[in-house]
Protein backbone atom coordinates (compact mmCIF):
# COMPACT_ATOMS: atom_id res chain seq x y z
CA UNK A 1 0.00 0.00 0.00
CA UNK A 2 2.56 2.56 1.12
CA UNK A 3 4.80 1.36 -1.70
CA UNK A 4 2.28 2.77 -4.15
CA UNK A 5 1.95 6.08 -2.34
CA UNK A 6 5.66 6.81 -2.00
CA UNK A 7 8.96 5.64 -3.35
CA UNK A 8 11.63 4.86 -0.73
CA UNK A 9 13.37 8.15 -1.55
CA UNK A 10 10.19 10.18 -1.20
CA UNK A 11 9.44 8.37 2.01
CA UNK A 12 12.82 9.35 3.43
CA UNK A 13 12.30 12.95 2.32
CA UNK A 14 8.88 13.02 3.97
CA UNK A 15 10.29 11.57 7.18
CA UNK A 16 12.94 14.29 7.28
CA UNK A 17 10.33 16.93 6.50
CA UNK A 18 8.05 15.65 9.23
CA UNK A 19 10.84 15.56 11.82
CA UNK A 20 11.90 19.12 10.97
CA UNK A 21 8.31 20.29 11.33
CA UNK A 22 8.08 18.69 14.76
CA UNK A 23 11.30 20.47 15.70
CA UNK A 24 9.97 23.78 14.34
CA UNK A 25 6.83 23.34 16.43
CA UNK A 26 8.46 22.32 19.67
CA UNK A 27 11.76 24.22 19.80
CA UNK A 28 10.17 27.60 20.66
CA UNK A 29 8.17 26.00 23.47
CA UNK A 30 11.25 24.26 24.82
CA UNK A 31 13.22 27.52 24.63
CA UNK A 32 10.54 29.20 26.78
CA UNK A 33 10.88 26.46 29.36
CA UNK A 34 14.70 26.40 29.32
CA UNK A 35 15.02 30.11 30.00
CA UNK A 36 12.56 29.90 32.87
CA UNK A 37 15.30 27.92 34.67
CA UNK A 38 18.10 30.28 33.63
CA UNK A 39 19.84 32.24 36.38
CA UNK A 40 19.96 35.49 34.42
CA UNK A 41 18.01 37.34 31.76
CA UNK A 42 16.53 35.77 28.66
CA UNK A 43 19.65 35.63 26.47
CA UNK A 44 22.74 33.53 25.81
CA UNK A 45 25.04 32.45 27.37
CA UNK A 46 22.96 30.42 29.82
CA UNK A 47 24.04 31.45 33.29
CA UNK A 48 23.20 28.37 35.30
CA UNK A 49 20.22 26.56 36.73
CA UNK A 50 17.86 28.25 39.17
CA UNK A 51 14.37 27.80 40.57
CA UNK A 52 14.38 31.39 41.67
CA UNK A 53 11.90 32.56 39.01
CA UNK A 54 9.47 29.90 40.08
CA UNK A 55 9.88 30.93 43.72
CA UNK A 56 9.25 34.57 42.82
CA UNK A 57 6.20 33.71 40.80
CA UNK A 58 4.68 31.72 43.65
CA UNK A 59 5.14 34.72 45.93
CA UNK A 60 3.88 37.32 43.45
CA UNK A 61 0.30 38.10 44.54
CA UNK A 62 -0.59 39.83 41.27
CA UNK A 63 0.32 36.82 39.16
CA UNK A 64 -1.43 34.42 41.49
CA UNK A 65 -4.49 36.62 41.54
CA UNK A 66 -4.70 36.77 37.76
CA UNK A 67 -4.31 32.98 37.55
CA UNK A 68 -7.08 32.60 40.12
CA UNK A 69 -9.36 34.90 38.12
CA UNK A 70 -8.72 32.92 34.95
CA UNK A 71 -9.45 29.68 36.78
CA UNK A 72 -12.75 31.06 38.12
CA UNK A 73 -13.80 32.42 34.73
CA UNK A 74 -12.82 29.16 33.03
CA UNK A 75 -14.66 27.00 35.59
CA UNK A 76 -17.91 28.97 35.45
CA UNK A 77 -17.95 29.52 31.70
CA UNK A 78 -17.14 25.90 30.90
CA UNK A 79 -19.86 24.57 33.22
CA UNK A 80 -22.43 26.81 31.54
CA UNK A 81 -21.12 26.01 28.05
CA UNK A 82 -21.27 22.26 28.72
CA UNK A 83 -24.81 22.53 30.13
CA UNK A 84 -26.01 24.44 27.11
CA UNK A 85 -23.99 22.16 24.83
CA UNK A 86 -25.71 19.04 26.18
CA UNK A 87 -29.22 20.43 25.67
CA UNK A 88 -28.33 21.77 22.22
CA UNK A 89 -26.87 18.40 21.18
CA UNK A 90 -30.01 16.60 22.35
CA UNK A 91 -32.25 18.97 20.41
CA UNK A 92 -30.16 18.63 17.24
CA UNK A 93 -29.87 14.83 17.33
CA UNK A 94 -33.01 13.60 19.06
CA UNK A 95 -35.70 16.03 18.02
CA UNK A 96 -37.26 17.14 14.81
CA UNK A 97 -38.14 20.80 14.59
CA UNK A 98 -38.60 23.58 12.11
CA UNK A 99 -35.48 25.54 11.23
CA UNK A 100 -32.97 22.97 12.48
CA UNK A 101 -30.32 23.92 9.95
CA UNK A 102 -30.64 27.59 10.89
CA UNK A 103 -30.28 26.72 14.58
CA UNK A 104 -27.17 24.64 13.96
CA UNK A 105 -25.70 27.37 11.77
CA UNK A 106 -26.21 29.84 14.61
CA UNK A 107 -24.70 27.44 17.15
CA UNK A 108 -21.56 26.93 15.08
CA UNK A 109 -21.17 30.51 13.84
CA UNK A 110 -18.97 31.62 16.79
CA UNK A 111 -16.32 29.32 15.26
CA UNK A 112 -15.83 31.69 12.33
CA UNK A 113 -16.74 35.09 13.77
CA UNK A 114 -13.46 36.90 14.50
CA UNK A 115 -12.93 37.11 18.28
CA UNK A 116 -11.98 40.74 17.78
CA UNK A 117 -15.39 41.56 16.31
CA UNK A 118 -17.21 39.57 18.96
CA UNK A 119 -15.19 41.14 21.76
CA UNK A 120 -15.92 44.70 20.69
CA UNK A 121 -19.60 43.81 20.17
CA UNK A 122 -19.89 42.78 23.80
CA UNK A 123 -17.92 45.87 24.84
CA UNK A 124 -20.34 48.08 22.92
CA UNK A 125 -23.45 46.37 24.30
CA UNK A 126 -22.18 46.55 27.89
CA UNK A 127 -21.42 50.24 27.44
CA UNK A 128 -24.87 50.84 25.95
CA UNK A 129 -26.67 48.96 28.74
CA UNK A 130 -24.65 50.86 31.34
CA UNK A 131 -25.47 54.17 29.73
CA UNK A 132 -29.16 53.28 29.77
CA UNK A 133 -29.02 52.07 33.39
CA UNK A 134 -27.09 55.12 34.54
CA UNK A 135 -29.63 57.42 32.92
CA UNK A 136 -32.69 55.60 34.23
CA UNK A 137 -31.65 54.17 37.62
CA UNK A 138 -28.31 55.80 38.39
CA UNK A 139 -26.52 52.46 38.69
CA UNK A 140 -24.49 50.44 36.22
CA UNK A 141 -23.08 46.95 35.68
CA UNK A 142 -19.63 47.71 34.36
CA UNK A 143 -17.08 45.42 32.77
CA UNK A 144 -15.31 42.63 34.63
CA UNK A 145 -15.12 38.88 35.00
CA UNK A 146 -18.88 38.41 34.50
CA UNK A 147 -18.52 39.95 31.03
CA UNK A 148 -15.60 37.65 30.23
CA UNK A 149 -17.64 34.61 31.36
CA UNK A 150 -20.53 35.63 29.10
CA UNK A 151 -18.21 35.95 26.10
CA UNK A 152 -16.35 32.72 26.77
CA UNK A 153 -19.57 30.72 27.01
CA UNK A 154 -20.49 31.88 23.50
CA UNK A 155 -17.17 30.86 21.95
CA UNK A 156 -16.90 27.56 23.89
CA UNK A 157 -20.43 26.44 23.08
CA UNK A 158 -19.73 25.16 19.53
CA UNK A 159 -16.73 23.17 20.81
CA UNK A 160 -18.81 21.50 23.53
CA UNK A 161 -21.52 20.62 20.99
CA UNK A 162 -18.88 19.23 18.62
CA UNK A 163 -17.45 17.10 21.41
CA UNK A 164 -20.77 15.79 22.74
CA UNK A 165 -22.62 15.13 19.48
CA UNK A 166 -20.45 12.32 18.10
CA UNK A 167 -20.87 10.23 21.26
CA UNK A 168 -24.56 11.01 21.63
CA UNK A 169 -25.02 9.98 18.02
CA UNK A 170 -23.58 6.56 18.83
CA UNK A 171 -25.78 6.01 21.86
CA UNK A 172 -28.76 4.10 20.56
CA UNK A 173 -32.15 5.78 20.90
CA UNK A 174 -33.39 2.30 21.90
CA UNK A 175 -31.89 2.80 25.37
CA UNK A 176 -33.96 5.90 25.96
CA UNK A 177 -37.04 4.21 24.47
CA UNK A 178 -36.50 1.22 26.75
CA UNK A 179 -36.28 3.50 29.78
CA UNK A 180 -39.49 5.17 28.68
CA UNK A 181 -41.24 1.81 28.25
CA UNK A 182 -40.14 0.81 31.73
CA UNK A 183 -41.92 3.84 33.09
CA UNK A 184 -39.16 6.42 33.38
CA UNK A 185 -40.11 10.01 32.66
CA UNK A 186 -37.83 11.91 30.27
CA UNK A 187 -35.79 13.40 33.10
CA UNK A 188 -35.28 10.00 34.79
CA UNK A 189 -34.27 8.40 31.53
CA UNK A 190 -31.79 11.20 30.92
CA UNK A 191 -30.45 11.20 34.46
CA UNK A 192 -30.17 7.41 34.90
CA UNK A 193 -29.40 6.17 31.39
CA UNK A 194 -28.12 8.76 28.96
CA UNK A 195 -26.11 11.03 31.22
CA UNK A 196 -23.86 8.30 32.67
CA UNK A 197 -23.17 6.94 29.18
CA UNK A 198 -22.46 10.45 27.92
CA UNK A 199 -20.13 11.27 30.80
CA UNK A 200 -16.81 10.78 28.92
CA UNK A 201 -17.81 13.29 26.25
CA UNK A 202 -19.08 15.71 28.89
CA UNK A 203 -15.80 15.53 30.76
CA UNK A 204 -13.74 16.19 27.63
CA UNK A 205 -16.06 19.00 26.56
CA UNK A 206 -15.55 20.56 29.98
CA UNK A 207 -11.76 20.29 29.72
CA UNK A 208 -11.69 21.74 26.20
CA UNK A 209 -13.92 24.67 27.20
CA UNK A 210 -11.85 25.22 30.33
CA UNK A 211 -8.52 25.46 28.52
CA UNK A 212 -10.05 27.60 25.78
CA UNK A 213 -11.31 30.10 28.34
CA UNK A 214 -8.21 30.00 30.53
CA UNK A 215 -5.95 30.98 27.61
CA UNK A 216 -8.28 33.36 25.82
CA UNK A 217 -6.86 36.85 25.33
CA UNK A 218 -8.69 38.70 22.51
CA UNK A 219 -12.16 38.78 24.04
CA UNK A 220 -10.97 39.11 27.62
CA UNK A 221 -8.78 42.09 26.73
CA UNK A 222 -11.89 44.13 25.89
CA UNK A 223 -14.08 42.91 28.73
CA UNK A 224 -11.92 42.26 31.79
CA UNK A 225 -11.88 45.90 32.87
CA UNK A 226 -10.02 46.40 36.14
CA UNK A 227 -9.75 42.67 36.83
CA UNK A 228 -7.24 41.25 34.34
CA UNK A 229 -7.33 37.52 33.73
CA UNK A 230 -4.01 35.68 33.33
CA UNK A 231 -3.52 36.23 29.57
CA UNK A 232 -4.49 39.91 29.89
CA UNK A 233 -2.11 40.37 32.80
CA UNK A 234 0.67 38.53 30.95
CA UNK A 235 0.23 40.76 27.92
CA UNK A 236 0.34 43.95 29.97
CA UNK A 237 3.49 42.81 31.83
CA UNK A 238 5.42 42.00 28.65
CA UNK A 239 6.38 45.67 28.50
CA UNK A 240 8.49 45.20 31.66
CA UNK A 241 11.65 43.28 30.65
CA UNK A 242 12.68 42.51 34.24
CA UNK A 243 9.42 40.58 34.70
CA UNK A 244 10.08 38.32 31.73
CA UNK A 245 11.86 35.33 33.35
CA UNK A 246 9.16 35.12 36.01
CA UNK A 247 6.47 35.20 33.35
CA UNK A 248 8.28 32.45 31.48
CA UNK A 249 8.14 30.36 34.64
CA UNK A 250 4.38 30.78 34.95
CA UNK A 251 3.99 30.22 31.22
CA UNK A 252 5.89 26.95 31.39
CA UNK A 253 3.68 25.70 34.20
CA UNK A 254 0.53 26.76 32.32
CA UNK A 255 1.79 25.18 29.07
CA UNK A 256 2.55 21.84 30.67
CA UNK A 257 -0.75 21.83 32.57
CA UNK A 258 -2.87 22.71 29.54
CA UNK A 259 -1.06 20.16 27.36
CA UNK A 260 -1.73 17.53 30.00
CA UNK A 261 -5.40 18.42 30.33
CA UNK A 262 -6.06 18.50 26.61
CA UNK A 263 -4.24 15.25 25.92
CA UNK A 264 -6.15 13.56 28.75
CA UNK A 265 -9.43 14.88 27.31
CA UNK A 266 -8.61 13.65 23.82
CA UNK A 267 -7.43 10.22 24.91
CA UNK A 268 -10.44 9.79 27.20
CA UNK A 269 -12.83 10.70 24.43
CA UNK A 270 -11.28 8.32 21.91
CA UNK A 271 -11.23 5.47 24.42
CA UNK A 272 -14.88 6.03 25.31
CA UNK A 273 -15.93 6.17 21.69
CA UNK A 274 -14.08 2.99 20.93
CA UNK A 275 -15.59 1.26 23.94
CA UNK A 276 -19.13 2.28 23.01
CA UNK A 277 -18.55 1.78 19.33
CA UNK A 278 -19.69 -1.83 19.14
CA UNK A 279 -22.33 -2.51 21.73
CA UNK A 280 -24.41 0.65 21.75
CA UNK A 281 -25.19 1.04 18.10
CA UNK A 282 -28.90 1.14 17.13
CA UNK A 283 -30.31 -2.32 16.54
CA UNK A 284 -30.20 -3.20 12.82
Amino acid sequence: MTEIATSPGARRALTIFFSSLVLFLYVPIVVLAVFSFNDGDVSFPLAGFTLDWYRRFFSNPKILQSLERSAIVAAISSVIAVGLGVTASFALLRRRFFGKSAVSALLFSPLVVPYLVFGISLLVIFTAVDKFLAASTGSYIGLGLHAVVIGHVVVSLPYTVLTIMPLLERLSVDLEEAAKDLGADPWQSFRRVTLPLLMPAIVSAFMIAFTLSFDEYAIASFLAGETPTWPVYLFAQLRVPSQLPQLLAVSSVVLVASLGVVLAAEIGRRLAERRYGDDLRPAP
Partner: protein, 301 residues
Protein backbone atom coordinates in the same frame (compact mmCIF):
# COMPACT_ATOMS: atom_id res chain seq x y z
CA UNK B 1 -62.27 1.85 18.17
CA UNK B 2 -62.27 3.50 21.57
CA UNK B 3 -58.86 2.03 22.20
CA UNK B 4 -57.35 3.43 19.05
CA UNK B 5 -58.81 6.82 19.81
CA UNK B 6 -57.26 6.67 23.22
CA UNK B 7 -53.98 5.63 21.68
CA UNK B 8 -54.17 8.40 19.17
CA UNK B 9 -54.82 11.02 21.83
CA UNK B 10 -52.02 9.60 23.95
CA UNK B 11 -49.71 9.88 20.99
CA UNK B 12 -50.82 13.46 20.42
CA UNK B 13 -50.10 14.14 24.05
CA UNK B 14 -46.62 12.70 23.63
CA UNK B 15 -46.02 14.79 20.60
CA UNK B 16 -47.16 17.94 22.36
CA UNK B 17 -44.96 17.16 25.31
CA UNK B 18 -42.22 16.41 22.83
CA UNK B 19 -42.57 19.80 21.24
CA UNK B 20 -42.48 21.47 24.63
CA UNK B 21 -39.44 19.40 25.46
CA UNK B 22 -37.72 20.54 22.29
CA UNK B 23 -38.45 24.15 23.12
CA UNK B 24 -37.04 23.54 26.60
CA UNK B 25 -33.88 22.02 25.18
CA UNK B 26 -33.34 24.83 22.73
CA UNK B 27 -34.31 27.71 25.01
CA UNK B 28 -31.03 27.89 26.94
CA UNK B 29 -28.55 27.90 24.07
CA UNK B 30 -30.71 30.06 21.83
CA UNK B 31 -31.48 32.70 24.44
CA UNK B 32 -27.80 32.89 25.42
CA UNK B 33 -26.69 33.30 21.81
CA UNK B 34 -29.46 35.79 21.09
CA UNK B 35 -28.70 38.01 24.08
CA UNK B 36 -24.92 37.83 24.05
CA UNK B 37 -24.08 37.23 20.41
CA UNK B 38 -26.78 38.18 17.90
CA UNK B 39 -28.02 41.32 19.64
CA UNK B 40 -24.52 42.73 20.36
CA UNK B 41 -23.46 42.22 16.75
CA UNK B 42 -26.71 43.78 15.50
CA UNK B 43 -26.13 46.65 17.88
CA UNK B 44 -22.67 47.24 16.41
CA UNK B 45 -24.30 47.31 12.97
CA UNK B 46 -26.78 49.92 14.18
CA UNK B 47 -23.95 51.88 15.77
CA UNK B 48 -21.96 51.91 12.53
CA UNK B 49 -24.75 53.78 10.74
CA UNK B 50 -25.32 56.15 13.64
CA UNK B 51 -28.69 54.66 14.68
CA UNK B 52 -27.52 54.69 18.30
CA UNK B 53 -24.95 56.88 20.00
CA UNK B 54 -23.02 56.30 23.18
CA UNK B 55 -20.65 59.24 23.46
CA UNK B 56 -21.10 62.98 23.13
CA UNK B 57 -18.70 62.86 20.19
CA UNK B 58 -20.91 60.46 18.23
CA UNK B 59 -22.64 62.24 15.34
CA UNK B 60 -26.14 61.27 16.49
CA UNK B 61 -27.65 61.16 13.03
CA UNK B 62 -28.41 58.12 10.93
CA UNK B 63 -26.16 58.15 7.89
CA UNK B 64 -23.95 55.91 5.86
CA UNK B 65 -21.13 58.44 6.08
CA UNK B 66 -18.70 56.17 7.91
CA UNK B 67 -19.37 53.35 5.45
CA UNK B 68 -18.84 55.74 2.60
CA UNK B 69 -15.55 56.89 4.09
CA UNK B 70 -14.39 53.31 4.44
CA UNK B 71 -15.44 52.00 1.06
CA UNK B 72 -14.69 54.88 -1.26
CA UNK B 73 -11.89 57.32 -1.85
CA UNK B 74 -9.02 55.00 -0.95
CA UNK B 75 -9.27 55.27 2.84
CA UNK B 76 -6.29 54.28 4.99
CA UNK B 77 -8.33 51.41 6.41
CA UNK B 78 -9.09 49.98 2.98
CA UNK B 79 -5.38 50.01 2.21
CA UNK B 80 -4.74 48.18 5.48
CA UNK B 81 -7.50 45.74 4.68
CA UNK B 82 -5.92 44.73 1.38
CA UNK B 83 -2.52 44.51 3.02
CA UNK B 84 -4.03 42.14 5.61
CA UNK B 85 -5.71 40.10 2.88
CA UNK B 86 -2.36 39.73 1.10
CA UNK B 87 -0.64 38.69 4.32
CA UNK B 88 -3.40 36.20 5.17
CA UNK B 89 -3.32 34.72 1.69
CA UNK B 90 0.45 34.28 1.89
CA UNK B 91 0.24 32.73 5.34
CA UNK B 92 -2.56 30.38 4.27
CA UNK B 93 -0.62 29.27 1.21
CA UNK B 94 2.54 28.62 3.24
CA UNK B 95 0.60 26.76 5.90
CA UNK B 96 -1.12 24.54 3.34
CA UNK B 97 2.22 23.81 1.66
CA UNK B 98 3.62 22.72 5.03
CA UNK B 99 0.50 20.85 6.10
CA UNK B 100 -0.02 18.85 2.91
CA UNK B 101 3.15 16.75 3.07
CA UNK B 102 2.55 16.33 6.79
CA UNK B 103 -0.96 15.01 6.24
CA UNK B 104 0.27 12.86 3.36
CA UNK B 105 3.07 11.38 5.45
CA UNK B 106 0.71 10.60 8.33
CA UNK B 107 -2.13 9.20 6.23
CA UNK B 108 -0.16 7.14 3.73
CA UNK B 109 3.29 6.37 5.10
CA UNK B 110 3.33 5.57 8.79
CA UNK B 111 0.67 2.90 9.33
CA UNK B 112 -0.58 2.30 12.84
CA UNK B 113 1.35 5.05 14.60
CA UNK B 114 -0.43 7.72 12.60
CA UNK B 115 -2.81 8.86 15.34
CA UNK B 116 -0.02 9.22 17.88
CA UNK B 117 2.05 11.27 15.45
CA UNK B 118 -0.99 13.32 14.49
CA UNK B 119 -1.54 14.16 18.13
CA UNK B 120 2.13 15.16 18.36
CA UNK B 121 1.56 17.69 15.58
CA UNK B 122 -1.76 19.00 16.88
CA UNK B 123 -0.83 19.26 20.56
CA UNK B 124 0.93 22.66 20.32
CA UNK B 125 -2.25 24.16 18.87
CA UNK B 126 -4.08 23.24 22.03
CA UNK B 127 -1.76 25.22 24.27
CA UNK B 128 -1.93 28.94 24.81
CA UNK B 129 -1.88 31.02 21.66
CA UNK B 130 -0.39 33.99 23.49
CA UNK B 131 2.48 31.92 24.90
CA UNK B 132 3.42 30.57 21.51
CA UNK B 133 3.62 34.12 20.14
CA UNK B 134 5.57 35.16 23.21
CA UNK B 135 8.08 32.37 22.56
CA UNK B 136 8.91 33.91 19.17
CA UNK B 137 9.21 37.37 20.67
CA UNK B 138 11.73 35.97 23.13
CA UNK B 139 13.61 34.14 20.39
CA UNK B 140 13.75 36.92 17.79
CA UNK B 141 14.21 40.05 19.94
CA UNK B 142 17.21 42.41 19.63
CA UNK B 143 18.63 40.97 22.84
CA UNK B 144 16.77 37.72 22.33
CA UNK B 145 17.81 34.12 22.03
CA UNK B 146 19.11 34.13 18.45
CA UNK B 147 20.85 37.51 18.57
CA UNK B 148 22.47 36.82 21.92
CA UNK B 149 23.55 33.42 20.65
CA UNK B 150 25.13 34.99 17.55
CA UNK B 151 27.01 37.60 19.54
CA UNK B 152 28.05 35.07 22.21
CA UNK B 153 29.55 32.81 19.55
CA UNK B 154 31.14 35.82 17.86
CA UNK B 155 29.21 35.54 14.62
CA UNK B 156 27.63 38.94 15.08
CA UNK B 157 28.74 41.99 17.00
CA UNK B 158 26.63 42.62 20.12
CA UNK B 159 26.19 46.28 19.11
CA UNK B 160 24.79 45.29 15.77
CA UNK B 161 21.95 42.81 16.35
CA UNK B 162 19.79 41.60 13.47
CA UNK B 163 16.82 43.90 13.93
CA UNK B 164 14.58 42.77 11.09
CA UNK B 165 13.88 39.58 13.03
CA UNK B 166 11.32 41.37 15.12
CA UNK B 167 8.71 43.97 14.23
CA UNK B 168 8.33 43.21 10.56
CA UNK B 169 5.74 41.84 8.21
CA UNK B 170 7.91 38.76 7.74
CA UNK B 171 7.83 37.98 11.47
CA UNK B 172 4.07 38.34 11.66
CA UNK B 173 3.68 35.86 8.81
CA UNK B 174 6.25 33.47 10.28
CA UNK B 175 4.50 33.43 13.65
CA UNK B 176 1.04 33.09 12.14
CA UNK B 177 2.22 30.14 10.05
CA UNK B 178 3.74 28.61 13.18
CA UNK B 179 0.42 29.03 15.02
CA UNK B 180 -1.77 27.49 12.32
CA UNK B 181 0.24 24.59 10.86
CA UNK B 182 -0.75 22.12 13.60
CA UNK B 183 -4.43 22.84 13.25
CA UNK B 184 -4.50 22.61 9.50
CA UNK B 185 -2.63 19.33 9.28
CA UNK B 186 -5.90 17.84 10.56
CA UNK B 187 -8.28 18.48 7.61
CA UNK B 188 -5.55 17.49 5.13
CA UNK B 189 -4.93 14.29 7.06
CA UNK B 190 -8.64 13.47 7.24
CA UNK B 191 -9.17 13.93 3.51
CA UNK B 192 -6.17 11.74 2.66
CA UNK B 193 -6.92 9.15 5.31
CA UNK B 194 -10.45 8.45 4.10
CA UNK B 195 -9.30 8.22 0.50
CA UNK B 196 -10.09 4.83 -0.98
CA UNK B 197 -6.68 3.17 -1.16
CA UNK B 198 -7.81 0.65 -3.79
CA UNK B 199 -7.95 3.57 -6.24
CA UNK B 200 -4.20 3.96 -5.84
CA UNK B 201 -3.69 0.26 -6.42
CA UNK B 202 -5.91 0.43 -9.47
CA UNK B 203 -3.91 3.34 -10.87
CA UNK B 204 -0.68 1.45 -10.29
CA UNK B 205 -2.07 -1.75 -11.83
CA UNK B 206 -3.04 0.24 -14.88
CA UNK B 207 0.58 1.31 -15.22
CA UNK B 208 0.56 4.81 -13.75
CA UNK B 209 3.77 5.94 -12.12
CA UNK B 210 3.70 7.08 -8.47
CA UNK B 211 3.94 10.67 -9.53
CA UNK B 212 1.15 10.28 -12.06
CA UNK B 213 -1.01 8.50 -9.49
CA UNK B 214 -0.47 11.38 -7.11
CA UNK B 215 -1.26 14.10 -9.66
CA UNK B 216 -4.24 12.36 -11.26
CA UNK B 217 -5.78 10.48 -8.31
CA UNK B 218 -4.57 11.44 -4.83
CA UNK B 219 -4.32 15.19 -5.25
CA UNK B 220 -7.73 15.73 -6.90
CA UNK B 221 -9.42 13.56 -4.27
CA UNK B 222 -7.84 15.48 -1.41
CA UNK B 223 -8.57 18.95 -2.78
CA UNK B 224 -11.58 19.42 -0.50
CA UNK B 225 -9.27 18.99 2.47
CA UNK B 226 -6.84 21.48 0.97
CA UNK B 227 -9.59 24.06 0.52
CA UNK B 228 -10.81 23.47 4.06
CA UNK B 229 -7.26 23.89 5.37
CA UNK B 230 -6.81 27.11 3.43
CA UNK B 231 -10.03 28.61 4.80
CA UNK B 232 -9.28 27.41 8.32
CA UNK B 233 -6.22 29.67 8.24
CA UNK B 234 -7.45 32.47 6.03
CA UNK B 235 -10.65 33.30 7.92
CA UNK B 236 -9.16 33.77 11.39
CA UNK B 237 -5.99 35.49 10.20
CA UNK B 238 -7.74 38.35 8.34
CA UNK B 239 -9.02 39.61 11.69
CA UNK B 240 -5.74 38.95 13.49
CA UNK B 241 -4.51 41.64 15.87
CA UNK B 242 -2.64 39.97 18.74
CA UNK B 243 0.33 38.62 16.80
CA UNK B 244 1.01 41.92 14.95
CA UNK B 245 0.71 43.71 18.27
CA UNK B 246 3.43 41.53 19.80
CA UNK B 247 5.85 41.00 16.92
CA UNK B 248 4.63 43.24 14.09
CA UNK B 249 5.71 46.78 14.88
CA UNK B 250 4.51 49.35 12.38
CA UNK B 251 5.26 47.41 9.22
CA UNK B 252 3.36 44.39 10.49
CA UNK B 253 0.33 46.46 11.55
CA UNK B 254 -2.85 44.82 10.27
CA UNK B 255 -6.50 45.72 9.70
CA UNK B 256 -7.47 44.16 13.05
CA UNK B 257 -5.03 46.45 14.87
CA UNK B 258 -6.80 49.52 13.54
CA UNK B 259 -10.11 48.20 14.90
CA UNK B 260 -8.56 47.58 18.30
CA UNK B 261 -6.91 51.01 18.31
CA UNK B 262 -10.16 52.75 17.39
CA UNK B 263 -11.83 51.15 20.40
CA UNK B 264 -9.03 51.39 22.95
CA UNK B 265 -6.92 54.39 21.94
CA UNK B 266 -8.66 56.58 19.37
CA UNK B 267 -12.09 56.16 20.91
CA UNK B 268 -13.78 56.53 17.57
CA UNK B 269 -16.19 53.70 18.17
CA UNK B 270 -18.37 54.44 15.20
CA UNK B 271 -15.56 54.03 12.69
CA UNK B 272 -14.39 51.00 14.67
CA UNK B 273 -17.86 49.47 14.44
CA UNK B 274 -17.92 50.05 10.72
CA UNK B 275 -14.53 48.38 10.26
CA UNK B 276 -15.53 45.46 12.48
CA UNK B 277 -18.80 44.90 10.66
CA UNK B 278 -17.07 45.09 7.29
CA UNK B 279 -14.68 42.38 8.46
CA UNK B 280 -17.62 40.26 9.62
CA UNK B 281 -19.30 40.80 6.24
CA UNK B 282 -16.17 39.60 4.42
CA UNK B 283 -16.05 36.47 6.59
CA UNK B 284 -19.76 35.86 5.99
CA UNK B 285 -19.30 36.15 2.22
CA UNK B 286 -16.35 33.74 2.35
CA UNK B 287 -18.41 31.29 4.38
CA UNK B 288 -21.37 31.56 2.03
CA UNK B 289 -19.14 30.97 -0.97
CA UNK B 290 -16.85 28.28 0.41
CA UNK B 291 -18.49 27.10 3.65
CA UNK B 292 -19.37 23.73 2.13
CA UNK B 293 -15.68 22.85 2.23
CA UNK B 294 -15.65 23.36 5.97
CA UNK B 295 -17.57 20.36 7.14
CA UNK B 296 -16.46 20.98 10.67
CA UNK B 297 -18.04 17.84 12.06
CA UNK B 298 -16.38 15.59 9.55
CA UNK B 299 -13.03 16.94 10.70
CA UNK B 300 -13.58 16.81 14.44
CA UNK B 301 -15.40 13.50 14.64
Amino acid sequence: MAVTQQEASARRGWRRRDRRGTAGLLAGPLIWLLLFFVIPVAFVAAYSVGAVDLFPTDPGVVSLASWQRLLTGGSVYMGLFWKSIRMSLTVSAIVVLLAYPTGYFLALCVGRRKYVLLLLIIAPFLTSYLLRVLAWKVILGDAGVINSFLSWTGMQSPDDPITWFLYSRFTVMLVLAYIWVPFVALPVFVSLDKLDKSLLEAASDLGASRWRTFVRVTLPLSLSGVFAAFLFVFIPTIGEFVTPLLVGGTSGYMYGNSIQDLFTKGLDWQTGSTLALFLLGVVAVLMAAFGRFLRVRAVVA
